[in-house]
Amino acid sequence: MSIIARNITKTFGAYTALNDVSLEVPAGKLVALLGPSGSGKTTLLRIIAGLEFSEPGSGRIKFHGEDVTDLPAGKRGVGFVFQHYALFRHMTVAQNIAFGLTVQPRRERQSKEAIAARVQELLKLIQLPELGSRYPAQLSGGQRQRVALARALAVQPKVLLLDEPFGALDAQVRKDLRRWLRHFQREIGVTTIFVTHDQEEALELADEVVVMNNAKIEQVGTPQEVYDRPASPFVIEFLGNVNRFAGLGHRLPGAGQDVIYVRPHDVDILREYHGQHGIRVSVQHVFSAGNYGRIALVRADNGETIDAEISRVRLAELKLAAGDEAFVVFRHIRLFPSGAFSERDVSTDDARAAVVDPGRDI
């Protein structure tokens, strides 16, 4: 079941939550809406669910080609999982899961036995077969999350919408549940959109990532696309750590600031100077706990800090210590030209040189 949202605008008073946003989600995909808080991602999810409505006259929502813009949430066939689960606190787990089945009109409603059987089946699916008679308050966060998911799935929704599904869980549970959700979504194949502000979560879990900022979509693509070919400075800064350098344009009158980005794992550290484009630095701090070594470096010429990530093997070879002198080279850089340049005017080599020598003329 594909999802199409077209030209969605939503304002709350003077505040614009969504500014003419369009989005297409192919059937069966797991898509992440990623962005900082206030970027409009939750509002978009709620509009797709029918819990909010876009500005009158603006925007359409289609599920599998069928226009559902004017349908209320209950008729759209969506399963919605809330950030804080919103389990019915006065009902047992089994009653929670059965809720969607028991509120159906009498002639469509399944028999009591059929509902009970379906609840058991879902409890098994979420790996909590023994907990049907517990109350939500008696469950852990991860268990509540799974119950909320089972409750949403009981009515066999056409699309599944998850609002910050792992936001309130601790790191270990989050990781397990993430893996479980991915496996689970592949298995049942329901088109799923989830909202998150955690880039790691989005990149690890989603088939496609929709990066949002300031009521707009910045970029849509596979995790690899958005990570390797970010469409804007915002995307590269939001998706993980990055070193930022002023580019060529900052010395030209009237030109905007163009910027050059280098990911810490694209920074290599050398003990000795190897010719072109090496920058002299001193080692400020070495963090060696973790999967890789992280090194904070300070440029000798202008005092800017550069973060580098290198493998632990390499770190052991280099034997770096705070205060040591070293040289860095960039394996890969990313340039976002200002208005004064187009990407063609500036070669990667120029950019590399610009970082090395900020005072250089062009």
């Binding site: 819990l51 209950g74 919605f80 919103a86 389990l87 019915f88 606190r89 006065h90 509120v103 009515v155």
Partner: protein
Amino acid sequence: MASSVVSSLQHAAAAGHRPLATRDADWVRYTLTAVALGFLALFLLLPLVAVFAEAFRRGIGAYFTALNDPDGMHALKLTLLTAAIAVPANLVFGVSAAWCIAKFNFPGKSLLITLIDLPFAVSPVISGLIFVLLFGAQGWLGHYLDAENPALPWLQAWLIEQDFKVIFAVPGIVLATVFVTFPFIARELIPLMQTQGNDEEYAAITLGASGWQTFWRVTLPNIKWGLFYGVILCNARAMGEFGAVSVVSGHIRGQTNTLPLHVEILYNEYQFVAAFAAASILALLALVTLVLKSLVEWAHARRHAADAAS
């Protein structure tokens, strides 16, 4: 460091005494406790004892003779009837008002919240006067019965035939009581519903529940303890209301006297035993209400503790 502080606190708590720095001197604690208890005894306990002491001054026989007075019995019935109408009416009003205010945003919301508080803000006597002005024979609405060219002649004829009166009759007493007790249930529910938020209702709606199903199966069960508490308070006030009812009732014995009014009349006639006997009934009703309230709170706290413990 932090963990050692925590563990030393736990030790102190386990041993049942708190660190000296958070404890006041003995004489301060005992004086404060004595002042509080003395105040309670003087202003709450003593009057209650006095009511029963006065009621039983001439013995149990006199007490029951006084109670068996037909006017007194009528006043008791009228009081119960008034509460029986006012409380369900305010139950419906209060729940709908709280539901509107807590779950929706609309223009004029703060005005509505202020209006709900109005009965608390104005003196009950003024409340009574408002109804006299509205429904009295010369009042804005009461004038209808004497109008020469009424809007609906058949309605006027029917009302006159029924000898329908609001002021100095039971409808006026009920109206005044409903007005005065209006805030109790709404005020109890609004903060509760606001803290609970709308997520559970939204969840129910996405699962296909209708508005009605959502209300009965999700909203109402979540507020039932608060609602019960509000009903108890509302009931206590409905049975005890004096000021507003006094203005609209007309004090007709055996017809428009509620129990509080009956007590006043008897007292003014120097029938002290009868007055205090009637007052003791009111006090008993109040005590029953308080016991019910404590039971509700206790049951509620126990449920919470069970939730928290698991």
